[in-house]
């Protein structure tokens, strides 16, 4: 049975934060697979490890790292929000406010992180 596509469900804060949580979770998971593999190169040889780690140090990857940390930080803060929704009696009532809190914290963290990360990169790289 074929069907014309329906519209997207227009959920609110709760649904979109969950979508983001899920996407960031999957993203981090795949990064972790790769990260364990690249770290394992320390068992192969220092050169191999340094070569691969070197790849993390080019300007494009620096952006990628900011993205990755952004994903982790969102997932982490939002994860804590979910835990509060689960275990704090008033969590369900304030879940939206908590999401705004998560986003604010995320923004502050990311501005600080990005600034220092880029700075360290510029200092250290050359």
């Amino acid at each position: 049975m074929t069907r014309t596509r329906g519209t997207l469900y227009r959920g609110r804060e709760g649904m979109w934060s969950w979508v983001a949580h899920r996407i960031t979770g999957v993203g981090i998971f795949f990064f972790l697979l790769v990260h364990v593999l690249d770290t394992s190169l320390v068992r192969v040889s220092p050169e191999a490890y340094d070569a691969v780690i070197g790849a993390y140090k080019n300007p494009v990857m620096i952006l990628g790292e900011i993205g990755l940390v952004g994903a982790i930080v969102f997932h982490a803060f939002n994860g804590l929000r979910i835990i509060l929704v689960d275990f704090w009696k008033k969590g369900t009532r304030y879940h939206k406010q908590m999401l705004w809190g998560v986003l604010a914290l995320w923004l502050v963290t990311m501005v600080a992180f990005s600034a220092r990360h880029v700075m360290l990169f510029l200092e250290g790289g050359h």
């Binding site: 899920r22 364990v36 394992s40 068992r43 140090k57 990360h117 360290l120």
Partner: protein, 164 residues
């Protein structure tokens, strides 16, 4: 004229009543309740999550924010950290928790979106194998790590942490 003589429905005597059996079987849930596994998994996600916040944030801080940042990371940096059993333990716990947490999260997602039971099984097999390999590999790397490796010529590499 077709006569269907509906079988007598007996008045409820036990609590099973609502499962009337009159429902089209296509709507019945596949009844493979796995005890409290789902509950345990749910609880694990919360506790591992809390632990991971600490583990990962410190990890990120130490590796990317303090000292020279990403530029400092090389073999020597890793070697320096793992010379300390606290960092060994730290990374080990982080590895295990993150992989179990992540893999369980992926399992949820597979359960949600895989449409056929066979696809579901395949994906989960790959997931379990993949996660197991990574966890074992990572554990081995942490425990068998030898900071004072010899280079191809048999010379000990010059490392700050190695007794020369």
């Amino acid at each position: 004229m077709t006569t269907t003589n509906t079988p007598a429905a007996f008045p409820a005597t036990s609590l099973e009543a609502p499962r009337s059996g009159r429902i089209d079987p296509k709507y019945l849930r596949s009844k493979t309740s796995s005890g409290s596994f789902e509950m345990a998994a749910w609880v694990f996600m919360r506790f591992s999550g809390i632990a991971l916040v600490v583990l990962i944030f410190v990890h990120l801080w130490v590796n990317l924010m303090s000292g020279g940042g990403i530029a400092q990371i090389d073999f020597g940096f890793v070697a320096g950290k793992w010379a300390n059993p606290v960092w060994q333990f730290w990374d080990l716990v982080m590895l295990w928790l993150a992989m179990l947490h992540g893999a369980n999260g992926m399992r949820t997602i597979i359960n949600d979106y895989a449409e056929k039971d066979s696809t579901r099984l395949w994906l989960k097999t790959i997931l379990v194998l993949g996660a197991a390999i990574i966890v074992v590999l990572g554990t081995l790397v942490i425990f068998t790590f030898e900071p004072c490796m010899l280079d191809a010529a048999g010379e000990q590499l010059p490392r700050a942490v190695c007794p020369s």
